[in-house]
Symmetry: C2
Subunit: 898 residues, 2 copies
């Protein structure tokens, strides 16, 4: 949202700024400010801001995003006047730096960096030491007194420039370097002397000429021009486009270019460079946190070749610089009112700031910083709410892979449910239960894909890994509901479920993982790791509670949970759920006894036998409902009546068929025939939901009986509750009237029997596109709507979420879809259908209660949409409840801002 808002500001500004493409900063004054991120990019705006604050920044200028956009409008040519402006700015820069670009006596070298309004990995990043050539290198030697330094800078410049500007394969340079080292028997680059580096420079240039057909550009002005071109062009390189597609960044923002005088942290022992955070990004603790190296370039600090020192040591090593830095970081934090991530360089005892930006932080740190800054009076509560990314909270709720260790992933799937898991591999639910419950072992359940019969095994497993399925596959949905780590769609795995092993090909050859082998899963990244990794435990703390309280004060959407058991209900309530938005009743039928009765019901030839089988299920369901009502005492509980097709309950495979046939005392052949008769070509569009109740009304009658008996018994004990009975898959008004009349009848009978009056609602899922279209008719009969956005997405797009894996990656890659619509609600398509249904429904019943219970109910962007669309509540899996609470609060604040 921020990006779009800024983009608007920028557009308004375009006309006035038409003839100005460059913004100078230096000598304590800058033409730009921090508010011009869309014009100057994040880096440029903050360099300007620091300059204006009187902080020493190497002078330079920013070529604005307007220039970039005109560059594209002019078919990759510079707009009129840009060249002249750059020339003028270079003159100012020479003056400020006291050096001359292209001079062989006192040469000015510059860095050229891209910098868009949002950080974009994949764009051209940086060219250092630009301006160096056979002439100017002499001045550099003279000024630095260090020939080796100068030729090393030269060599690096050629390599960097040739790679990013001239598109020369970097391997060629490495070969030359390696050959030279081999010849001189030098182990490290640092062992090469100035003379050798000089030779390498020559060889590099010959190599570039051979590859490009042209000599390496010696003219600093040409170097600068080509570099600016390269930055502009990098805005539209495939990696950047893909990143923007995935992260929903508009493609027309363009990038700025920052040209800045070079300062060198590697000019000797009075020089150095470092990165620092104004608070601890891991814990949020309020202390200056960072690392530095003396006589080093910026990249050396992060490259890991030399071990940097903690920032506190700088105090001893160079107390003056440290004191300066300390005062700067405090000013920057209170100026930007957020934790900052700084880069600095000390050139010959002189401290320069190269960058400041809001620092990335871990979830716990984000909460602590937000709370602390409110206490410190630095930000308001409302601002603090916007400082924590809702998705981050999930890190807090699950154990995670301890990121301080190094590990190598064996394979990568989709990160379906976050957290981490370590355990021994098992290949079916029965083994999972056996190993975990009987042998007390930690297991990871590995399946091609999971089905409802695997739920027992999933419940006892540490984590779940599947070879197929997407982010909303059965495994993913159930695992998220359980708050259990899950990696799905790991297509590299070749699973032999019978043989109880999987194999996969890696660069290093084929790997075979057998039952009992230990693997680890990183549900946050989708990585599968052979062996055990260390886990970090979750810890919520008091700041979490305080922070979430602030969010709760702000938000308007209620947050309910999707829970099918008393356990899930309690977990969700602890996380702040305000009721159940979706209690799926089918999971209740998968227990041992229940499945048997369910199968009897399905296999019955007539209504009488079906009713007989249902009678066995009724007391069991009643017990389930009582447990859930108790766990949610005083809160609303939405119960969805049976939804899945009956074939999900029938036995699969020969062994199971035999067992069930024996159990039910019918022949295998007869059983097979019945199973066959339940087969559907497109089960998603088949005989399920209320369609079952139209053909077998006795099913919903039994469920209604169980619900009302449970409620009446508890009401007699003094408990208050409002069951909200939800009819799934309604697309035709008659489906609702037909099923509703039975429910009302059963409710009346049960209440008369118990002599108790229970308040209840009968409503419907809106998950069939037709239901949204005729929502005004449905609202006449329904007492609430609950959008089932999983199915609504499937049917609106005509995408089967079980099959989407075949083409979704291509859609994302080609930019046809920006994001999997099962992960984040498709606001421009499915969302319009939802808005239509809400407005049609409320046109009949202005206070119609409307919620959402699909997987999207836990996705922040979707929650923001639900808020804007006037929904009453979202419902999500227990572990996403805090995320939804925060996202709902942010939605209010973002709306306010606009």
């Amino acid at each position: 949202m921020e990006v779009i808002a800024e983009s608007k500001t920028k557009k308004q500004g375009t006309a006035d700024l038409m003839k100005k493409y460059t913004y100078f900063f230096g000598n304590g004054k800058a033409q730009g400010t921090r508010d011009q991120k869309s014009l100057l990019g994040g880096k440029g705006a903050n360099l300007a801001e620091m300059t204006n604050l009187g902080i020493l920044v190497p002078p330079g200028f920013t070529i604005s995003t307007v220039a970039c956009k005109e560059f594209y409008a002019l078919d990759e040519k510079w707009p009129d006047g840009l060249a002249a402006e750059i020339e003028e700015n270079m003159r100012k820069l020479e003056e400020a730096a006291g050096k001359k670009f292209g001079s062989k006596d006192n040469p000015l070298l510059v860095s050229v960096r891209s910098g868009a309004a949002v950080s974009l990995p994949g764009m051209m990043d940086t060219i250092l030491n630009l301006g160096i050539n056979d002439d100017t290198v002499k001045g550099l030697i003279q000024k630095s007194g260090n020939e080796r330094f100068a030729y090393d800078a030269y060599r690096r410049f050629i390599q960097m420039f040739s790679n990013v500007v001239l598109n020369v394969d970097p391997h060629g340079f490495e070969h030359i370097l390696a050959a030279k080292k081999k010849k001189l028997k030098a182990a490290q680059d640092t062992a090469l002397k100035a003379e050798s580096l000089k030779e390498i420079v020559k060889e590099y240039k010959e190599f570039v000429k051979k590859k490009t057909g042209k000599p390496f550009p010696e003219d600093p002005k040409v170097q600068l021009q080509l570099s600016c071109d390269a930055v502009f062009k990098s805005w539209n390189n495939p990696r950047a486009i893909t990143y923007r597609n995935i992260n929903k960044v508009p493609h027309d923002l363009g990038t700025a270019v920052n040209v800045q005088a070079m300062v060198f942290g590697n000019m000797g022992e009075t020089s150095g460079t470092g990165v620092a955070f104004t608070r601890d990004p891991g814990t949020g603790e309020r202390k200056f946190f960072g690392e530095y190296l003396m006589n080093a370039q910026g990249e050396d600090v992060v490259a890991g070749i030399r071990t940097p020192y903690p920032i506190s040591r700088l105090k001893e090593q160079m107390p003056e610089a440290y004191t300066q830095l300390e005062s700067i970081y405090q000013r920057l934090e209170s100026h930007f009112r957020d934790m900052q991530d700084l880069e600095f360089t000390i050139e010959d005892r002189k401290l320069y700031l190269l960058q400041t930006r809001s620092g990335k932080r871990a979830a716990a740190a984000a909460i602590k910083i937000a709370c602390d800054m409110v206490s410190e009076g630095l930000i308001t509560k409302e601002e603090s709410i916007l400082r924590v990314a809702p998705e981050q909270l999930e890190q807090l709720l699950h154990p995670t892979v301890d990121m301080r260790q190094k590990y190598k992933a064996l394979a990568k799937g989709l990160p379906a449910s976050p957290g981490a898991a370590v355990g021994q591999v098992v290949f079916n639910a029965e083994d999972a239960v056996g190993w975990a419950e009987e042998k007390g072992k930690r297991v990871v359940l590995v399946r091609m894909e999971t089905s409802p019969e695997d739920v027992g095994g999933m419940a006892v497993a540490q984590g779940i890994l599947t070879a197929t399925g997407g982010m909303t596959s059965h495994a993913a949905v159930v695992a998220r509901g359980m708050g259990k780590c899950c990696v799905v769609g790991c297509g590299q795995l070749q699973i032999d479920e019978k043989g109880k092993f999987f194999t996969l090909k890696t660069a290093a050859g084929s790997v075979k993982v057998k039952e009992g082998d230990v693997v680890s899963l990183n549900g946050t990244t989708g990585e599968v790791i052979l062996g055990e990794v260390k886990l970090a435990k979750p810890d919520l703390g008091s700041d979490f509670k305080k922070f979430m309280g602030w969010a709760d004060e702000v938000r308007k959407l209620k947050v309910r949970t999707n829970a099918d058991t008393p356990e899930d209900s309690r977990v969700a309530r602890d996380f702040g759920a305000e009721g159940i938005g979706l209690c799926r009743t089918e999971h209740m039928f998968f227990g041992e006894n229940r499945l048997r009765a369910m199968r009897e019901m399905i296999l019955a030839d007539n209504e009488k036998d079906r009713i007989k089988a249902l009678k066995k299920l009724e007391p069991l369901q009643k017990g389930d409902f009582k447990g859930i009502f108790k766990a949610m005492a005083g809160l609303p509980v939405t119960i969805r009546l049976l939804d899945p097709p009956l074939h999900e309950f029938v036995p699969k495979g020969d062994a199971e068929l035999k067992k069930v046939a024996k159990d039910l005392k019918i022949s295998v052949k007869e059983l097979e025939k019945k199973v066959q008769s339940l087969h559907e070509v497109n089960p998603m569009l088949g005989h399920r939901g209320c369609r079952l109740a139209v053909t077998y009304p006795e099913i919903y009658r039994m469920q209604a009986q169980a619900i009302f008996e449970a409620a009446c018994e508890l009401a007699k004990e003094g408990q208050r509750m409002v069951p909200e009975i939800m009819i799934p898959l309604v697309g035709i008004i008659g489906e609702l009237t037909f099923t509703k009349q039975d429910i009302i009848k059963v409710a009346g009978e049960v209440m008369r029997k118990f002599k108790v009056n229970i308040e209840y609602l009968v409503g419907t899922m809106i998950e069939i596109p037709r239901a949204a279209i005729i929502a005004e008719d449905i609202a006449k009969e329904a007492e609430f709507f609950s959008f089932g956005t999983n199915d609504l997405t499937q049917m609106s797009f005509g995408f089967s979420r079980d099959d989407i894996g075949k083409f979704l990656p291509h859609y994302i890659e080609r930019g046809i879809l920006k994001i999997d619509p099962f992960v984040s609600l498709d606001q421009s398509g499915v969302g319009r259908l939802i808005e239509l249904a809400v407005s049609k429904g409320r046109s009949i019943k202005p206070d119609l209660k409307v919620g959402i219970c699909g997987e999207h109910g836990g996705d922040p962007a979707s929650i923001e949409f639900c808020h804007r669309s006037g929904l009453d509540y979202v419902s999500c899996s227990p572990f996403r409840v805090p995320i939804a609470r925060l996202a709902a609060a942010q939605a209010v604040l973002k709306e306010k801002k606009q």
Copy 2:
């Protein structure tokens, strides 16, 4: 539509008529008129009209539908005043008839008949001889001088009244009658004398008392009151409700009740009764056509026990009555301006008309009568267009089962494609081709269900019979396209495709039909008949052409056809198609060579191999397109690029897998793996349509190449054509832009190569709900829209048409759906989505060409909707083109009327 229009008139009238429930007719004057069908029912309105025309009708009165509606509003009680009105009318009736109700000297007997605005089978029909009891029977004997006649009338009345009014099982009466006959050794009812009938009357009454616990009502007034009640109630009996649901008749119309003085055609040899048509209902010939019997009751004429005489014989037998009848029929026809179906009775030489109504007629007769009446100046051309039901035309285009023969159906399925077929049963496509082409035999192809690979076999078969699938299954769609008789979803069949036989259970035991046995199919009724039936050949004639010409003058919708071959295109053009609205390109890939190349393409691991395989297909496709362009020279041809999922093309079954693996020189295992990888859980929502082109762009490129090369080659020969290239399954704007840019590129390349300029369009199917929702975005890129209503219906409802059979019958039965939405477009749901898309699309491009190419394009009600929604054309299978032309014309005229 007519029903609804009348229903409105009626509502407006209700207020004025509030206090009047009855309408008298008799003595040459009636209170009602023909225009009051909704108030008096069809029968009552026409009885009134005939009376006003001075035609002798037995006097009587009609109790209006308002009374019926108030009866329901008052919880099945008579409204105030109704009883008094009936009493008053009975007095008038006594006066007019010169008899007295309940008199033992000169008793008035009456008939009580239901009569709604539309004819409704399943409602209570008729009670005759009401008013008879132990007293009045004496008067009847005295007046008729025929004791046997009087007691027979009495017996019949008790039986009829007890059955329809008192709900007594009719079998009880038959037992009594049979026992009496046995005792008296009488073979026929007619052998029973008056005395025996008198005894039977007594026994009947005892039986009724035993069954109902009350004596049989002797009071004529009570008889009348109970009969009226029974008629009112019969409006809502289950059969009537079902009929209304299926035929889309509103449930709130109510029925009228006609009470009329009895006249007797069975009073002796100067009495008689008959039915007649003012023109021949079989041929349409303008001649008086009918049958009669002397000394008989109405039901004897149609019961088939006595053979009636042709009406011409009445001229000799009773010239006076005949002359009168002749003048009456001519007056009625010119008055009602339509062919009439009359019922008359002659009582002692006096001619009474009992009913007149528009006569049902065969298709050929309908056309001839329409044309003749226009020539005669009786009706206008526009009126004539509304006189023929579009669906009827189908009878004319196919050979049909000759209805003059009697046959017994072995089984009944869904009438998927009309016409008739006789042939020897074969169980697979290969055998069909072998028997038909090689052995020259007529075959009927029997399959569980058909797949695209069966198309060759279907083409050579006389007809197709499947055990599964609905009206829009593969078999049904393809057969209709071919104009070939087809019966689908015949669930009684147990087919053993391997054993080459099917069995089915009938009341008479199990029947086994083996390969080579002869069966006949009636595609109009869905009947399967063992052995050969006689067929009637189609004959269009010159009237057909003239009539269709009139329709063409009126209609605004263009009518195109769905055709995939030059042959189909030619047939459709002969039937009046104005272009192709849907040319499916996938059927072109099922030839022997083509399937091989297609499979090579599918099994290829990389783009290069795919392109290689596609290169083999390209010249073959080009040839197909040339053939179709030639057949449709000068007309638009819409070509849909590849749509079905790739797994439809892969081999199925072990034998085929082996064959294909050998053919493609890969291992069976490898082939199996690939086939497995193409499997989808919900193929309908899977990897198909433009989704294939996003992952494999080379497929559409090849197809575009073939289209433009074909067009350019023909253009060089001087032919003009406008290829309309249609992208299927678009739901996201990027799908269209991505595929479109390739097509434009290929078009440009080919046209440059041929140095020819071809006009062409690139448009899209609207068949995904999301596409309708974002239609304004799509309209920016698409040059036309074509609604794929099959898929749009599937996804809007979330119904898989392959699986709907499991619950659709229950939906129809319970009135949740009035009609299969795959047969007639769901106007209130899917239709609103279509209207939305049209309006959004035209908001961007006001002259956007919009058509429909789903199966609904051939359904008259759907065509009327398309006209109202402002579509430009409908496209349907060749044999439905005339139907669509007529329906489109009727849509204009109906709209005008409103």
